[in-house]
Amino acid sequence: MRAPIAFVGSEVTRRVSQLGALARFFLDALGSFGTLPRAGRRVARHVLVNQIWFTALQAVPLVIVLSGLLSFLVISQAVRELGRFGATEIIGTLMVVAIVRELGPLLTALAVAGRSGTAIAAELATNKVMGEVDALEGMGIDPLHYLVLPRLGAAVVSVFCLIVLFDGVAIAAGLIAATANGMSTDRYFDVVLRSLAFGDAGVSIGKGLAFGAIIGTLPAFHGLRVGRAPTDVPIAAGRAVVGSIVAIFLCSALFVAVFS
C-alpha cells in the first residue's frame, strides 16, 4: 500500500518542482530584458524580427484557411437552421462568443504551438546538444538574451497578431456565408456588432498575450533542459508541444472561469 502512495507523492513533487522551475525560467527570461546590454539589443531585435517572420508571417495562410473554413461552415449552418425559427439574431452571439472570443484564440494558439513551438524546442535543444549554448556562455553572451528573450517576444507579438487576423477573417467569411444563405449584409453586421462588446476584445487581447507567453516559454524551457544526447531533441520537442497544448487549454478554461 505504501509503494503506490510513495509513487504518487514523488510524482506530484516532481511535477510541482518542474512547475516551479518553469515559473522561474519565465521570470528569468522576462527579467533578462532589463540586463540586455545596449549593444546586444540590435542583435536581439534582429533575431526577434526573424522569429516573427517565421512564427507570424509564414503562418498567415494557415490561419486564414482555418478561420475562413470554420467561420463559413458554422455561420452557413447557423443561418440555415436558425432562419427556420427566425432566430438569426443569435448568429451575432455565435460569431462573437464562440468564434471571436473562444475558438479564434484557441485554434490560433494551437496552430502556432504545433508549428512554431516544436520548432523552437527542437532548435534550442539542438543548440544545447551541439554545445552552442555553452559556447555562447563562454563568449559572455547570455543564452536568455540571445535565444530565449527574442523568441518569447516574437511568440507574444505573433500570436496576438494572428488572433486579430483570425477574428477579421472569421467575420469576413461569416459575412460571405450569411449572404450566400440569404441574409443581408446590413442585417449581418447589425447582429454581429450588437453582440460585440469592448470586453470581448479585451479577453481576446488577454488570451493573445497569455497564449503567446506560453508558446514562447514552454518550448524554450524544454529545449534548454536537454542533456548531451541527440535523442533528447525529439523528446524535448514532444514535451514542448504537449505541454503547450495542455497549458493553452488550462489557460483558456481559466479565462472562461474569470471573465464569463
Binding site: 549593444a39 546586444g40 539542438t126 563562454g138
Partner: protein, 220 residues
C-alpha cells in the same frame, strides 16, 4: 603573476590539478578523455564548478562573480570549445561577428572591417557566407578560433583544438592563437587541453603537462 591558475582543482577523473599559466606562455594539458582534462577551460570560465579547489583567471574566480559580471569578464577571454560551438543557423561571417555585435558598441561598419581582416587572415573569405554544415572541419575550426580571438583577448583557452587536423593546419591555428611574438614569448597566453598534441607542435609550446592517475605532471 600567473594569468591563469588552478589551485588543487579536482578533475572529474579523480586527479588533482595544481598549475599556473604565466603570461605570454603556451601551456598544454593533455590526458585521456575520462581524466576530465576537458573540464579545465570550463572551470576557468566558471561554466562548471569543480568538486574541490578553484580556478582563477587574472586572480578572479569567475564562478563566484554575479551573473552579469561573469558574462562581462568572459569577454576578456578567448574560448574555443571542443567541437567548435559555432551556431548552425548563422554563416561563418556572422558567427565571428556575433561577439563583437553583442559585446561592443562598435558601429557595424567598424565590425565589418575587422571581420574582413580576420577572414582573410584565417583563409575563410571564400566560405564566409556559408553555414558551418556547408564547410569542412578545418574551416569550422578556423572560424571558431577566429571568433575566439575576435576581441584580441590576453588569454585564449582551447579545448581539443587540433583533433582531426593536419599538422600544418594545427601549426597555423596555434600561431593565430599565440597572436604573434612579444618580448616574453607569445603575445597572448594560451592554454590548450586535449588528449594529445601533434608531434610537430611539441617544440612550439612552452610547457606540457599530462594528467596521470591522481595528479597532473609536467612533461620534460
Amino acid at each position: 603573476m600567473a594569468l591563469l591558475r588552478f589551485e588543487a582543482v579536482a578533475l572529474p577523473g579523480g586527479a588533482v590539478c595544481d598549475l599556473a599559466v604565466p603570461p605570454n606562455q603556451v601551456v598544454v594539458v593533455s590526458g585521456p578523455e575520462d581524466s576530465g582534462v576537458g573540464s579545465l577551460a570550463r572551470f576557468a570560465l566558471g561554466l562548471e564548478q569543480p568538486q574541490a579547489g578553484r580556478a582563477l583567471v587574472l586572480d578572479t574566480e569567475i564562478s563566484r562573480l554575479p551573473r552579469a559580471a561573469a558574462l562581462a569578464f568572459r569577454r576578456r577571454v578567448g574560448y574555443l570549445p571542443a567541437g567548435d560551438g559555432l551556431l548552425q543557423n548563422l554563416t561563418l561571417h556572422d558567427n565571428i561577428a556575433l561577439p563583437l555585435r553583442f559585446g561592443t558598441g562598435l558601429h557595424e561598419h567598424d565590425i565589418e572591417g575587422r571581420i574582413r581582416i580576420i577572414l582573410t587572415m584565417m583563409h575563410l573569405t571564400v566560405v564566409a557566407m556559408s553555414r558551418p554544415a556547408q564547410v569542412n572541419e578545418e574551416q569550422r575550426r578556423r572560424a571558431a578560433l577566429a571568433r575566439a580571438v575576435v576581441f584580441d583577448p590576453e588569454l585564449v583557452l582551447m579545448e581539443q583544438p587540433f583533433d582531426g587536423l593536419t599538422d600544418r593546419a594545427a601549426a597555423e591555428l596555434l600561431e593565430v592563437a599565440r597572436g604573434g611574438v612579444a618580448a616574453g614569448g607569445s603575445r597572448r597566453t594560451v592554454l590548450i587541453t586535449g588528449q594529445d598534441l601533434p608531434h610537430l607542435l611539441r617544440a612550439r609550446v612552452d610547457a606540457r603537462y599530462r594528467v596521470a592517475r591522481d595528479e597532473v605532471l609536467r612533461e620534460v
